[in-house]
Amino acid sequence: MKILVPIKRVPDPQTNISVKGDGTGIVTDNVKFVINPFCEIALEEALRIKEQQGGAEVVLVSIGQKVAQEQLRTGLAMGADRAILVLSDDELDAATTAALLAKLVDQEKPELVLAGKQAIDDDANQTGQILASMLDWPQATFASKVEFSGDKKDVTVTREVDGGLETVAFTLPGVITTDLRLNEPRYASLPGIMKARKKELKEIPLAELGVDAKPRVKTHKVSPPPKRAAGRKVETVQELVNLLHTEAKLI
């Protein structure tokens, strides 16, 4: 089985983000970048499938600037077999990303695309879904469990939906997007890091894929969340209960 895993380079969720003065985006100087956590979960799942099934190939794809090599190398160090970097200096919207991935699916012919449910930078939660519809493939989003049939042709996916779990099944090929509780990604080991040096990382200029990359969605403004107002000290429990009732309207 061949599994395509798209991974996105995003700011480390642990770092403090500040917004540029002119509101066009976030300050990226001195910010550490990592693999989007949901993509990392997708990669971990792909690696587990590979380990369980033997013979599977895990191919990483990232679309972005050359620096995204670093995240691809990390993915290779975790155990992916090879990587493709589609080079683009521009911010791409979800539809364009999906169109580029669809092109790569045509070329690579994977049986499964395993993607994160969303990237933690723009929180769009669209790429997997748009890709499935472009390919006319079945999709299972927000996966918290992935199980294959004995002949590896069908897959059953448990999805985390509001207030419960839903189980869906489809016949491959298809698209699965991962939720937080699917697994806990491994770290790249030191031997893995050294092995990754020798693995293939192919770069493809965006123009070569023949996809119209003109953005359909434009970012108008980025603004930080409002500052939290300072707390207040109350003298008695009774006062607290009253305020929760009258001011906070929580009880």
Binding site: N30, R73, T74, Y187, S189, P191, M194, A196, R197
Partner: protein, 396 residues
């Protein structure tokens, strides 16, 4: 692009993608899996052996050993950033990995027979066998050449007698690299040479009592190795060893890792003190707003920055095969003594809180007393350097 506020000169940018990746992996392991455990282990004077399989899985045992013997084939700078991140956790954790990598796997790789390498190195890389290094004796620390431990040639092997003291991992090790004097010609005292032997824990006449009462490096096992007519077969002699130079070569490797490790401990203390200084209000404002405290913090960051650049350069020299042992002495002496100073000043900045284990500082401060002493005391390195630059020996 500095990854943290303790990388003032962006030394990060001088590292390769792989070196950064090694740092990130070890950093994550230390933050997520080691730091939550260390306080209890330090209190109980135990090492978290439950982490041994994880440390092995990450590849922290003998990472510079070639892949054919189970290592990762890392370069020395990557090894350095690994020890730095481990010691940001605790000097005991770094010691655990240092001893296994630099003092046990390194001599087996460098001086061992092919059979010894094939037998021990892959097991040690997988964490299935833990080793220790027995050089120091109760009466011979800074001058190990005076050691009393003797090996005597007998039918089929050797008999060892002697006592080693202050041996990291001793009681939990599966084997010890023991240094002892052997007469090539039993009737000629002048034929005596220091040789290295591998002694398995099961050998009759070999015991490894735990040492108690340490107030430093508590999250690390320290033991005595007692050899009483302990027989080991011929094949346990490491054939490439010969003279004091052999253990000293191992110490050069370990000291290299310690020079990097000390930066990790210093960073942990600096960052803790910096956070505290910015939030602790005394008199009119946060103490970080007073000139005296700022001067202390600036001094810490200056020393950390210098130490980082020193190690980076030392590592590049080592990878180029151009590093001299005296250069390692300078880095070990400087970085550890500065880290110890930083820890003491950081302790002071935290006031009373600085003496509690709610913060990592006092633990690092106590640990660094050991680190300043073992692997050549600060002054012994000073004398080594003094001899190097003057050509005059001040040791004796």
């Amino acid at each position: 692009m500095p990854a943290s506020r303790s990388d003032f000169y962006a030394v990060e940018d001088l590292l390769s993608v792989e070196e950064r990746a090694v740092r990130d992996t070890v950093r994550r392991f230390v933050d997520d899996e080691f730091l939550p455990l260390v306080r209890q282990h330090f209190t109980d004077a135990t090492f978290p052996t439950e982490l041994t399989p994880r440390i092995a899985e990450l590849g922290c045992f003998g990472p510079t050993v070639p892949t054919e013997y189970g290592g990762a084939g890392l370069n020395s700078v990557a090894y350095g950033v690994m020890t730095q991140e481990l010691e940001r956790g605790d000097s005991g954790l770094r010691s655990f990995a240092s001893v296994q990598s630099s003092l046990v796997m390194y001599p087996i790789l460098t001086f061992g027979s092919e059979a010894q390498k094939r037998h021990w190195l892959p097991r040690m890389a997988r964490g299935e066998a833990i080793g220790c290094f027995g050089l120091t004796e109760p009466d011979f620390g800074s001058n190990p050449g005076g050691m009393i431990t003797r090996a005597k040639r007998v039918d089929g092997g050797f008999v060892l007698n002697g006592t080693k003291r202050w041996i990291t991992n001793g009681s939990i090790a599966d084997c010890a690299v023991v240094w002892a004097k052997l007469r090539e010609d039993e009737s000629d005292p002048k034929s005596e040479v220091i040789r290295g032997f591998i002694v398995e824990k099961e050998r009759a006449g070999f015991s490894r009592p735990l040492m108690h009462g340490k107030w430093s490096l508590r999250a690390s096992i320290t033991s005595e190795l007692i050899l009483e007519d302990c027989f080991i077969p011929e094949e346990n002699l490491m054939p490439g060893t010969g003279g004091l130079k052999s253990p000293l070569m191992c110490l050069t490797q370990a000291r290299y890792g310690i020079a990097w490790g000390a930066i990790g401990a210093a960073i942990a203390c600096y960052e803790s003190a910096l956070d505290y200084a910015k939030s602790r209000v005394v008199f009119a404002r946060p103490i970080g707003g007073y000139q005296l405290v700022q001067a202390k913090l600036v001094d810490m960051l200056s020393e950390i920055t210098k130490a980082q650049l020193l190690c980076w350069r030392l590592g590049r020299l080592k990878d180029a095969g151009e590093m001299r042992p005296e250069q390692v002495s300078l880095a070990k002496m400087n970085n550890v003594s500065q880290a110890l100073r930083i820890a003491r000043v950081a302790r002071d900045i935290l006031g009373a809180n600085g003496i509690t284990d709610d913060y990592p500082i006092i633990r690092h401060m106590l640990n660094l007393e050991t680190v300043n002493t073992y692997e050549g005391t600060e002054d012994v390195h000073r004398l080594t350097l003094g001899r190097d630059i003057t050509g005059l020996n001040a040791f004796e």
